[in-house]
Each structure stands twice: as C-alpha cells, then as structure tokens.
Amino acid sequence: MMMKIIGGLLVISASGLLGIVFSYRLSLRYKEITNLRRFIQMLETEVIYGATPLPAALRNISNKAEGYLRRFFLKISEGLIDRSYYTVGDAWADSAETVLMQSSLQRSDIELIKSFGNILGCSDREDQKKHFQLFYLQLKHQEDAAMEEIKKSAKMYRSLGFLLGAAVFVILA
C-alpha cells in the first residue's frame, strides 16, 4: 500500500513537471525572440551609425548578451576573425544551426534568422537599414505568434501534465 502511494506520487509529479517544462519552454521561446530583436537593434546601431566592422560589432554584442545568444554571436565573430568561412552568411548559418538549435527557438525562427545572415554585410548602409527594418517586422510577427501560442497552450500543458499523471496512476493502481 505504501509502495503504491509512493509510486503514484512519483508518476503524478513526474508528468506534472513535464507539463511545467513544456509550458516553460513556450515562454522561453518568446523571451529569446524578444532578446534577439534587442541585440539585432544594437547590431544595427553598430553597423549603421558606428560603422564598426562586423566581427568587432558582433563581439561587442556578444559581451552584452548572455546564454545561447551570447554563444551565437561569439561563434560568428570568432569564425569571421579566424577566416574559417567564405562569407558572413555561411558563418551566420552555421552558428545558427549549431548554437540556436539547442535553444527553445523553433525551426521557423531559425530559418528566418539564417535568411537574415545572407544579407548582412553585403550592401551599403541604406540598403542594410532597410533589411534590418524588414527583419524587425518578421521577428515581431514571430514574437506575436509565440505570444499567441503561450496564451493558448501554456496553461493547458501545465494542467494536462498533472491530469495525465493522475489518469495513469488511476489506470495502473
């Protein structure tokens, strides 16, 4: 009897925690997109007004960022300084693939970020500015989608975790 109760508590708390982790991941995605937008804005300032070369600008930004974004910017900057890539787009895409894949960003977010890397540093300031604006719009769209998802599913994941745990416990007990 005692074992049964302990096992049931373990099952319920495990699946409840799983639900909480899922809903936390949703809110983490929103936070990461917002952060990314902020740092891209910093990058725009560096590029448009400071006219800093891209490796140095990326290094400055990586000093301010933290977590996955820090590693993302740092990897691009290092790749550019070491000259291990042919273009900025390659470095950007490779860094997005290896670093951002581990974060909570979704496939569509990463594809968007990769497509921005192809344009970065390929034209004059005015044109870059336009591309930055476009990228902000796209990121904003993604951000809204993430927010929508949070509203729709975060609460559901949390309660569903506990409830499914309870269901498993009742069926097995």
Binding site: S153, M156, L160, L164, A167, I171
Partner: protein
C-alpha cells in the same frame, strides 16, 4: 467482483472529464474527443471480462 473496480472507473471518469474540459477550453475540440474515446476504451477493457462473465452465467442459468 470487488467494489474497487467501481471506484477506479469513477476516478477515470472524473479525470477524463477534467481533461476534456481543459482541452475544450484551449480550443482543441478534436483532441478532447480523442481523450473521451480513449477513456471509454480503457473502461471497456476493464469491464469486458465482467460482461463476458455475466453472459456466461446467464447462458448456464437458462441452459442455452
């Protein structure tokens, strides 16, 4: 035949109802439908041996 089974079925009913409500509220009607169906199937699995017992005893009682 034990009373435990009845309580268990009742508990499954309650949990499935709440899951159904939660899913319905977050706009996943088809998933709510699926959980309800899953609950029905699970309970049916529990009860099916008892039902067959009942049929057997009816058959033996009336020598069919």
């Amino acid at each position: 035949m034990d009373v435990n089974l009845i309580f268990r079925i009742a508990a499954i009913g309650i949990v499935i109802t709440v899951i159904n409500k939660v899913l319905y509220q977050s706009g996943r009607e088809e998933m709510a439908m699926m959980t309800t169906l899953a609950g029905v199937v699970v309970v049916l699995m529990m009860v099916i041996s008892l039902v067959s017992n009942l049929f057997d005893s009816v058959r033996t009682m009336f020598h069919l």
